[in-house]
Amino acid sequence: MIGLGEHAEFIIAAYAGVFIGLGLLIGWSVYDSRRVRARLEALGDKRG
């Protein structure tokens, strides 16, 4: 890992913010998809 200089905290905060945001976005997308599929299956829909 390289040294990030005197403003390291801003660089780390920017990357942490983006990847936490992406994690939440991906997690929410997958959760929403699975929830809707599970409700469809519960109603007997077999189309997937």
Binding site: F10, Y15, L40, G44, D45, G48
Partner: protein, 253 residues
């Protein structure tokens, strides 16, 4: 009409049929997610281990590798929504409003990330987290437009009626995209002028451009992956609503 007489569906019709769209785009999600992950890891390696510090900004230039892709997506997603809005209003394409609805929260998230990373970059380079200049203010307005669109979708039970209202709202809001793009040329601003997407080519060296382009493609493919997944979910959600109504009426499924 016999089976042999039945005309074959064109690619446009196949694209318009939600069931067909699901079946021929489902195999794309896994490979897209895989390529996105590889590109993201390569981009991060370049960003932290194989790119130089800038001669003026020092290491804070590394924030550019997450700021520029998210800022690009904040505008690209809106442009895609505006095209989908036209598809809804002009061609009544059945998947246009699905695409429009799926993209709005993603666009809002990328815009919020662009504002956040810009703020983190601004403090060490300009001495302030925020300035009410043309680029930042118009990007904040874009975030509010996205949030308004998400709220508007949720305000209607009838999704077809919602689609028409949201499409008009989206097209009106599209006027903000060129304002964001050209704000740095039109007004005196702290934000630097365009240095990548320019008519005369990028003004930065290849050692900074390489990680930037890798991250640019990684984020764009990530959007494509999430957009497809969200469109699949929306198509299934509409099927679910139909099934729930039939069940409530006592019809057999």
């Amino acid at each position: 009409m016999t089976t042999q007489d039945t005309p074959k569906m064109s690619w446009w019709n196949r694209l318009a049929h939600p069931g067909q769209f699901l079946s021929w785009t489902r195999p794309l999600i896994g490979p897209l997610a895989g390529v996105t992950t590889v590109l993201m890891l390569v981009g991060l390696w370049f960003a932290f281990f194989n790119s130089p510090a800038d001669y003026q900004m020092g290491d804070t230039v590394r924030i550019m590798y997450v700021h520029v892709p998210t800022a690009w997506l904040s505008q690209f997603v809106y442009a895609a929504m505006a095209v989908s809005a036209l598809g809804t209003l002009v061609w009544r394409h059945p998947l246009a409003d699905v695409s429009m609805k799926a993209a709005a929260p993603l666009g809002a998230a990328f815009t919020a990330m662009a504002l956040f990373t810009g703020s983190m970059w601004g403090r060490p380079t300009w001495g302030t987290f925020w300035e009410w200049d043309g680029r930042m203010t118009s990007t904040l307005i874009l975030l509010f437009i996205y949030l308004g669109i998400v709220a508007l979708w949720r305000a209607f039970d009838d999704q077809l009626r919602a689609a028409r209202v949201v499409a008009v709202f989206t097209l009106v809001g599209a006027v903000n995209v060129p304002i964001i793009k050209f704000s740095v040329d039109w007004w005196s601003t702290l934000h630097q002028p365009a240095s990548v997407f320019r008519a005369d080519g990028p003004t930065m060296p290849g050692s900074l451009l390489t990680p930037l382009f890798v991250m640019f493609f990684a984020f764009t493919l990530l959007f494509a992956t999430l957009q497809l997944l969200a469109m699949h979910t929306e198509i299934r959600r509409r099927r679910l609503v139909t099934l729930e109504r039939r069940t409530a009426r006592g019809d057999t499924v």
